[in-house]
């Protein structure tokens, strides 16, 4: 039934098999666990997203995570090149040191994520992948056959988004799976005024 809906190319039909849709039979519920990939980057927003997810899907009161699988992905920036001038140091050394630092940083970040999970008695798969966050997340979604991609959001306004490039924006548009954007609620007495 779902197969007929997703047979592609042969006929020019709308996205869904209307007949089955009428009966509310869009697809069968997935066999096995529902995989959630959560993007983690050591920011407050990521922590909030992780805590929110653990509280609402993995706490004893909410089913204890039965039927769900959590994969936490951290994107580690790759050190590509270094340009150094001055006596006493070479580009390679600096690169190596930078790489070491990045690795340490990533390891620490991942430890924090693991700590939060253990505090909730949740076993999550934690992964460090190298590269730009957007590519890393696309890969992670494909690799783990994610059903949901969970992201925190920095809550940038439109100007900031244009400048800094929003990962959550990009994933909302391009991810192959459903995307859940978890925002921290704005503080009541805001220090910054949000302009949109």
């Amino acid at each position: 039934m779902s197969a007929s809906g997703s047979s592609r190319g042969e006929h020019i039909v709308p996205e869904f098999d209307t007949e089955n849709v009428e009966k509310g039979l869009f697809h069968q519920a997935k066999e096995g666990k529902i995989t959630m990939v959560l993007a983690f980057d050591d920011s407050e927003h990521s922590f909030y997203a992780l805590e929110w997810t653990l509280n609402h899907f993995y706490s004893p009161a909410t089913g204890g995570g039965m039927g769900f699988q959590l994969v936490i992905v951290h994107a580690k920036r790759a050190m590509a090149a270094a340009n150094v001038s001055g006596p006493g140091t070479s580009a390679e050394e600096v690169l190596q040191d930078a790489e070491m630092d990045q690795r340490k940083l990533a390891a620490r970040t991942v430890e924090k994520a693991r700590a939060v999970c253990s505090a909730h008695s949740v076993e999550a798969v934690v992964e460090i992948m190298e590269g730009d966050a957007k590519h890393v997340l696309m890969e992670a979604v494909a690799k783990h056959h994610a059903d949901i991609l969970i992201l925190g959001s920095h809550g940038y306004n439109s100007v900031q988004r244009a400048f800094m490039g929003s990962v959550s924006d990009h994933m909302a548009h391009h991810a192959q799976c459903s995307v859940m954007i978890v925002k921290r609620p704005k503080p009541q007495k805001g220090t910054k005024k949000q302009t949109h």
């Binding site: 997703s6 996205e15 869904f16 849709v21 909410t62 991810a175 954007i181 925002k183 949109h196």
Partner: protein, 187 residues
């Protein structure tokens, strides 16, 4: 011109015991608001959300199906030879009625999906601009999660994300889940 504000109206469709349950569920439990429109995409989103978010914790969650009705202008002015003409109230009523019929249809279809998956859902109807109306309704309903399809009625093939979904991802106060259509369907 009066301000277009979103009004949340609890439809008479699914009241009674569910409402009583809702008030107790509101204290704890997970409130999921799914915004539906006439598009297949949004009904798929509802179905997907029930399967993947509510999953095996139906008792704990409260599902609300939200439909935003087109706002009917009370006056319809168009200049004809320099004079403004007000559309006859008869046609306005007809338009309003058509919108209401459409709303009922969308809601009942959504409720059918819920029923077929053994989920009790509340329904809510709001009026106005979809973007704002959904945002406001989600706040008023104290939603824990807002679910939308990725594309709706204005389905432009090249657009990856519909304008309403995009707006909600940035402006909704609560977490937003954007449900993508199943793989293999036309992009």
């Amino acid at each position: 011109m009066e301000e277009v504000t979103a009004t949340v109206v609890m439809e008479g469709a699914v009241v009674g015991p569910e409402v009583a349950e809702a008030t107790t569920a509101e204290k704890k439990g997970f409130k999921v608001v799914v915004a539906v429109d006439d598009s297949e995409n949004s009904h798929y989103a509802l179905s997907w959300a029930i399967d993947n978010i509510l999953a095996n914790r139906r008792e704990d969650c409260q599902l609300v199906v939200l439909h935003v009705q087109h706002f009917v202008e009370t006056t319809f002015m168009y200049p004809v030879a320099g004079h403004a003409v007000y559309a006859p109230t008869l046609s306005m009523d007809a338009v309003r009625k058509a919108h209401e019929e459409n709303s009922k249809r969308v809601i009942s279809r959504a409720v059918d999906i819920c029923k077929s998956k053994h989920v009790d859902a509340l329904t809510a109807v709001a009026e106005g601009d979809p973007k704002d109306a959904i945002c406001e309704a989600a706040e008023k309903l104290h939603a824990d999660l807002l679910v939308v399809g990725s594309r709706g009625l204005g389905m432009i093939k090249r657009a990856f994300l519909g304008s309403v979904s995009d707006y909600l991802a940035h402006h909704a106060k609560c977490p937003v889940l954007i449900v993508k259509p199943p793989k293999g369907s036309h992009k």
